[in-house]
């Protein structure tokens, strides 16, 4: 009887504790302090919703746009840091996010870019749409240009005996098909399209950086620059890390004192279970005590399949 009583007391203690944790979780009032949101753009910039599984969460730009909308709708968010660590990606996806950044700025929010290891090509497209750009002096950036990858596997197909027959509605319906050589007419069609997208890219950079389009074209031959070079050329405003960018954003937004940081994005359960050890304690604490202001960022793997249109 004594043993039974002890176990019942322990069970009650556990139940009361569970109730207390649940009550504490639901009773937490949201903070109304002025915040700086951090939105991560990592990996290849691809349109769509991305893929999410237990092992990795590959972010499509739909997620980034959703986060931009959340930051826009949150009245306590005064400024947004766009933390870019991307070699570029799809032109359309970059443009889509770039336009959303412009809309965010039009709503009165300050948007500041912090470049990580690399913020090139499509990554720079996004940066050019923001109020101010911070880069590390060794950041790889620039790569302003467009290319269409095209592989001709015609000879290989012949060797392995594959012949694909197509019934086409028009002569160019299978343009960029890998099983035949591109005609000179088709090459001209693609070149015109590349030039069109390139002009749009140059216009975005010229508008964002307040530079003359001719001046931008001189820099935009597809080459990459270090953060240091980019600053000298006017492609970057300041040299500094993400915390410098946060300070800069706080100053631009007129936030007095230390700003509250709100990170957007989801951390995969796999990372949560096996991620960096220094994050584990604080994350666990945040989860248990309902103090997490955010979920963490998503990322796309480097071997992610790429679209036809590459901003480079």
């Amino acid at each position: 009887m004594y043993k039974k009583s002890v176990i019942i007391v322990i069970a009650l203690l556990v139940l009361v504790s569970l109730g207390g944790l649940a009550f504490r979780g639901s009773g937490k009032k949201p903070s109304h302090a002025e915040k700086i949101a951090v939105i991560y753009v990592e990996g290849v910039i691809m349109g769509g919703r991305g893929q999410s599984n237990v092992f990795v969460e590959q972010g499509g730009t739909d997620q980034v746009i959703k986060q931009i909308h959340e930051a826009r709708d949150d009245a306590t968010v005064k400024a947004v840091i766009l933390r870019i660590n991307s070699p570029g990606g799809s032109a359309a996806a970059s443009q889509e996010v770039g336009e959303e950044i412009k809309k965010l700025r039009a709503k009165g929010k300050i948007v500041v870019t912090s470049m990580g290891d690399v913020a090139a090509s499509g990554g720079y497209w996004l940066a050019a749409c923001t109020d101010k750009i911070y880069a590390n002096s060794t950041t790889m950036t620039g790569s302003i240009g467009v290319y269409v990858p095209y592989a001709n596997w015609e000879e290989l197909y012949k060797k392995v005996g594959i012949y694909q027959e197509k019934i086409k509605s028009g002569p160019h319906k299978d343009i960029l098909s890998p099983e035949r050589m591109m005609t000179s007419e088709e090459r001209a069609i693609i070149q015109v399209m590349v030039d069109d997208i390139y002009s749009q890219f140059v216009a975005v950079v010229a508008e964002g950086r307040k530079m003359d389009a001719t001046e931008v074209r001189k820099l935009a031959d597809g080459r990459i620059y270090t953060g240091n070079q980019a600053k000298q050329l006017g492609l970057v405003d300041e040299l500094g890390n993400m915390y410098d960018a946060i300070d800069g954003a706080a100053e631009l937004a007129g936030i007095n004192g230390k700003p509250e940081i709100k990170e957007y994005g989801n951390k995969s359960p796999w990372n949560m279970l096996f991620g960096a050890s220094e994050q584990a304690g604080s994350l666990l604490e945040k989860v248990i005590f309902n103090q997490a202001k955010n979920a963490l960022n998503s990322s796309a793997p480097i071997d992610m399949p790429t679209d036809k249109w590459q901003v480079k």
Partner: protein
């Protein structure tokens, strides 16, 4: 049900007697109940936190991973430790060890009241206290694993500890051998910045 309460009490407060009784009775059903409660109750506490922080999409995955992972560890642990214990001259049964190891999960339920207590502590000490509480519960649970091996297989305490750490030692030795071979092939690679 009364015997389950008594066994739980014994496991928590007089583990040697408790493990001996469990090994004799081999009540797998009760072990599964204790295992599930010991896994699900802390997950329930995590659930409140995850749901409140908007990480609702990962709740189901976390729960499935935790239950499945713990179940696999329980079954594999029982099988491997039983095999090693027999090599060391143990006389117990696999079912007895499996049952005892299931009951050894019981201390995990204490993580919930501990977290509830830490929740009202000063913010500066929360991370440290949480780490200590998790480590304490893990150590308690591991010590019960040792007692389970000792009592089920009638081994000495030192042998029971040796049985428990043998899989880790084997993995460690294999890693050292592997890294030695890999390291020797990497020594001539250029340095990357």
């Amino acid at each position: 049900m009364g015997s389950l309460f008594e066994m739980l009490y014994d496991i928590l407060f007089q583990p040697a007697i408790g493990m001996k009784n469990i090994a004799q009775r081999k009540n797998v059903g009760q072990a599964i109940v204790v295992f599930l409660l010991s896994i699900l109750i802390p997950i329930w506490a995590l659930y409140f936190g995850l749901k409140a922080t908007g990480m609702s999409t990962m709740i189901n995955v976390m729960i499935v991973l935790k239950i499945f992972g713990s179940l696999v560890m329980w079954i594999m642990g029982a099988a491997i430790w039983h095999l090693i214990a027999e090599f060391f001259g143990g006389h117990g049964t696999a079912v007895g060890l499996f049952t005892a190891l299931g009951f050894a999960h019981a201390p995990r339920i204490f993580i919930v009241p501990l977290w509830a207590l830490i929740a009202v502590m000063p913010a500066s000490s929360k991370t440290m206290l949480m780490t200590i509480s998790v480590l304490a519960v893990m150590l308690w649970s591991l010590s019960l694993d040792v007692v389970a091996i000792k009592e089920v297989h009638q081994l000495s305490a030192s042998k029971a500890v040796l049985v428990m750490i043998t899989p880790l030692l084997v993995v460690g030795i294999l890693c050292i051998i592997g890294f030695t071979f890999i390291g020797s092939s990497l020594t001539h690679m250029p340095m990357w910045l």
